[in-house]
Every structure is written in structure tokens, then in C-alpha cells.
Amino acid sequence: MPVTVNLPAVLSRLAGGKTAHEASGATLGEVVADLVARFPDLAPRLRDAAGNPYPFVTFYVNDEDARFAGGFGAAVRDGDEVIVVPAIAGG
């Protein structure tokens, strides 16, 4: 069972118009790489020039902020849910 990646509406238009996608990988970075391989336009909105998480989105693995679990190094398993949310919200 692959990982489910939920994109915000603003990014779905770069991913075939869909918000929910299946992807695979053992880490968050690998999952993102898998998704970006299919939707290259997403790449600059998920990764910065150095290959780190793009600073204006926040990644969650099963509702946990991935920055507390190693960022792109965070472990993911089949069946996990990755949520991508624009970083500018709240306060």
C-alpha cells in the first residue's frame, strides 16, 4: 500500500488537477522525489534549490510536522499520509 500525499488546492493545478496522490518511498524526501518525477512543475514548490523542503510549505507525516522528525529524512511507511500545507497561515 503506497503513501498518500495530499496537496493544497494551490498546488493541485501543478499536479494534474488532483489534490490526492499516491507515491512511494522510505523517507519523505523519496516520496517527494517520486511525486516530482511525475509532476515536474511541482518541484520548485516542494524543494528549494539545495534540495531541502521549500520554506513556504510545511510537510506533515500522519499529522506530525516533519521538521520534528528529520525533515526530508523523516521515515514514512506504506499506508502513511503526507499532508502539504502552505506555510503562511495563522497567528
Binding site: 493544497p8 498546488l11 510549505v57 510536522d65 521538521r67 499532508i83 503562511i88 497561515a89 497567528g91
Partner: protein, 422 residues
């Protein structure tokens, strides 16, 4: 046929037209809409004011009603507001005894603890956000909140006739919960921290298309904070203080106070130099203080652990902008302990008669620390932004105050107390 007493209410008045926005990062334009992030780079959108618009002078502003809308040319609308027209213009209270206690020349309290209608500065930002919602044709609004914003959205949506969905952490103080639910919103308590609530609301805004004031209406919402700086300048006789200190949660208030001060000078309403801006956080949740101290440009999020729940945001959206504004202005940021939160509440109460909530305690104690460290100078004229009311966070003072004696209704028992107190 006579009108039925149950006939549908008349349609809500059309609101003012929100102005277009522009991306703060990549400068891409964005037409007015319930969107707060740039569709190109995901940076924050902010209102795109017409630099050639007519601006009022001091006398014209002074002739207007005493509300935050007297500065409407600096708020992101074309046309008149239709709801929440009475918020703002809270007292600026000179506090000589507090100034002495802090070690500065003069001090004033900008007292949003008595903000109308819900006793916190969030009335300002909700006032602008709801006018944006109505202007955009939205009928349901909401927020992710640590409490004060929940109160403000619930109350102001109720009187505007808007539906509201309000999301808060499950463990807020009773005053914050009751102070929201009494207005009849859809109030949802979320198991998790504010940061969990905030992430959920980003998803809610995407799914349901509501106007979540601090998510997709954020560009219009945040501008309301500027009015605090406009009021401070006007109430000081159209001048700027040496220093301003404010609590930091998401970091927006300090950022907007700095922006407003630049606008005041640009408009010729006040002369420079700009104030130094200081930000205050509780040590149990101080990601913006950490950023200012480290000199970096990326916030490292934290899991909040503090009684100052109203400012317990571990992943502050405007953290990098707040740190930049503080550094640019020559100010600094300061964290305080849990004990100092309570000490700050008591110091303000005992020297000014103003009862603030935990965020205000953080602000007062941070000012004292900054003065002790020499970052605030003995010659400084300081304004402290007190953003919320102590009656909402009574829990913070549990056990901290002396218990009042109980006496029989006999004069000699009172006389004994007076003798002991002498």
C-alpha cells in the same frame, strides 16, 4: 399581505470592495479574493495600495469617529466598512510608576485589554477581515485561534449575521472557551496544540471555501493591526515613541506595527526616527526570540510549553518577518520565565490598575529584562502594547495571590487586620 414575523431577514449590505493584493516575495499581482498566498511562489500576499491615493491630514483624521476606521486610507478597502465599525481607539495610558519600575524615562500602556467588543487586540484584525469577507460575498467565516481571536470572530460574526466555524486547542482557559461559545458559533475543540489547529484550518479553508480570517483572509486581516500604531502616534500628539514592545505569537503584530510606523512617516503624519521594536515571548515558546538571537532567517519550530497560551505558537508564520522588522529597527527580542509571566501581570496591575492576561505579563516582564540588560535605555519613552484582558486567564494566577482574610461582620476584627497590616 403583512410581513411574517419569520420572514427572511433583509440581505446583508454589500461590503466595501477589498483591494487587489501583491506577493511580498515575488511581487506577482493577485486580484482581490479569499486567498492569502501567491499562486506562483506560495509567498504571503499583501494589499496593493495605490501610492497615488488621497491621504488625509491630521485635522481630517481628528474629525472622524473614534474607531480604527479613522485610518481607513491605510486599510485595504475601497468604500465604507459595513460591520464592526466601532472597534479600535483604545486608551493610551501614561504609566509613571511602571516607568520607574522598569527603569525608563516615560512609559505608556496601549490598553487593548479594553478593546471593543471582546477585550483583545484581535478585535482590530477581525474588524477588517469581516468587512473583507462580506465584500467578497462570503457568508461563513472562521479562524484557528489560541482564544482571543476565537472570541473576536464569534462575537463580531454574530452581530454581522455571519455563520462562524471556530477551531481552538482543546485545553484553553475557561474564559476563552465561554467567551466564544456564548455568541453561538460552531466551536470546535481540537486535540492538539495551536499549530495542529492551524494546520487543520489550512485544510478546512481549502475544502469548504469559508473565509478563515487568519488563513485565506490573512492579507486583509493583518492590516487591522496597523491601527494600533496609528493610534499610538495620534494619542502621543502625532509623534513616535523611542521604543515599542509587543508580545509575539505568529509575529504579525510587531511586523505590522513596524510597517505602520513607516507609513506614518511617509504620510507626513509623524516625524522619524522610527521606534525601536521589541518582541516578547514566553521561554516555553520562543521561536522568534531564538531567531532574533541567532541572526538567521529561518524559524526553527518548537512544541509550546507555557501558561501564556494566547501566544503559544510554535510555528509562527510571520516569524522571519517579525525578526527582520525587529533587527531593522534596532530593537531586540526577549523571552521570560513562567514565574515572570505572573510577576509581569502583577506589576502592571499594581502600577497602572490595568489587569492583563498572560501575554501582557510576558510583555511587561520582557520590558523589565530588556531595561536591565541595557537594551532599553534610561532615557527611553516606551509604549507597551497590552493586547488582552486578565479576566480571560484567571487560571494563571491560581495560588499566586494572597488569600483574602474572612472575618465576622465585627469592627474589632477589621481593626485587628488593620493593626497587623500597619
Amino acid at each position: 399581505m403583512p410581513a411574517s414575523p419569520h420572514a427572511a431577514p433583509p440581505p446583508a449590505p454589500a461590503g466595501p470592495r477589498p483591494i487587489d493584493q501583491v506577493c511580498r516575495l515575488c511581487a506577482a499581482p493577485s486580484p482581490a479574493s479569499a486567498a492569502a498566498i501567491c499562486e506562483h511562489c506560495l509567498g504571503p500576499l499583501e494589499p496593493a495600495y495605490d501610492p497615488a491615493r488621497r491621504l488625509p491630514g491630521r485635522a481630517e483624521i481628528a474629525s472622524r469617529p473614534r474607531s480604527l476606521w479613522r485610518y481607513r486610507e491605510w486599510l485595504p478597502f475601497a468604500g465604507e466598512p459595513v460591520v464592526s465599525t466601532d472597534s479600535g481607539f483604545t486608551p493610551l495610558v501614561e504609566a509613571p510608576r511602571l516607568a520607574r519600575a522598569l527603569g525608563v524615562a516615560r512609559a505608556w500602556v496601549k490598553n487593548d485589554a479594553v478593546s471593543h467588543p471582546t477585550l483583545s487586540f484581535k478585535d482590530r484584525v477581525v474588524s477588517t477581515a469581516l468587512n473583507a469577507a462580506i465584500g467578497l460575498g462570503l457568508t461563513t467565516v472562521g479562524c484557528a485561534s489560541t482564544g482571543n481571536l476565537a472570541n473576536a470572530v464569534a462575537a463580531q460574526a454574530a452581530r454581522a449575521g455571519l455563520q462562524s466555524w471556530i477551531f481552538i486547542p482543546h485545553d484553553l482557559e475557561l474564559g476563552k472557551v465561554v467567551g466564544s461559545s456564548v455568541y453561538g458559533p460552531n466551536l470546535v475543540r481540537v486535540q492538539g496544540t495551536y499549530d495542529d489547529v492551524n494546520r487543520l484550518c489550512a485544510q478546512v479553508a481549502d475544502r469548504f471555501g469559508w473565509g478563515i480570517v487568519n488563513v485565506n483572509l490573512r492579507g486583509y486581516y493583518g492590516e487591522g493591526s496597523k491601527t494600533m500604531a496609528f493610534e499610538i502616534a495620534e494619542q502621543l500628539g502625532w509623534r513616535l515613541p523611542d521604543a515599542v514592545i509587543a508580545p509575539m505569537a505568529g509575529g504579525s503584530l510587531v511586523t505590522k506595527l513596524h510597517k505602520a510606523s513607516k507609513e506614518l512617516v511617509a504620510a507626513g503624519l509623524a516625524e522619524g526616527p522610527l521606534p525601536r521594536f521589541y518582541g516578547a515571548q514566553a521561554a516555553g515558546c520562543s521561536p522568534i526570540v531564538d531567531l532574533v538571537e541567532s541572526g538567521g532567517d529561518t524559524v526553527t519550530p518548537v512544541v509550546p510549553r507555557t501558561i501564556a497560551k494566547s501566544i503559544a505558537i510554535g510555528n509562527p508564520a510571520d516569524g522571519r518577518f517579525a525578526a527582520k522588522a525587529i533587527r531593522e529597527s534596532g530593537g531586540w527580542a526577549q523571552a521570560v520565565t513562567e514565574a515572570e509571566v505572573v510577576e509581569g501581570i502583577r506589576l502592571l496591575a499594581e502600577t497602572t490598575g490595568i489587569f492583563t492576561e498572560t501575554a501582557g505579563g510576558v510583555t511587561v516582564s520582557a520590558a523589565r529584562r530588556l531595561a536591565q540588560a541595557g537594551r532599553l535605555k534610561p532615557s527611553d519613552e516606551l509604549v507597551l502594547c497590552i493586547t488582552g484582558n486578565g479576566l480571560k486567564t484567571l487560571e494563571a494566577l491560581t495560588g499566586a495571590l494572597p488569600e483574602a482574610p474572612v472575618v465576622a461582620p465585627r469592627l474589632k476584627e477589621v481593626a485587628a487586620l488593620v493593626e497587623r497590616a500597619a
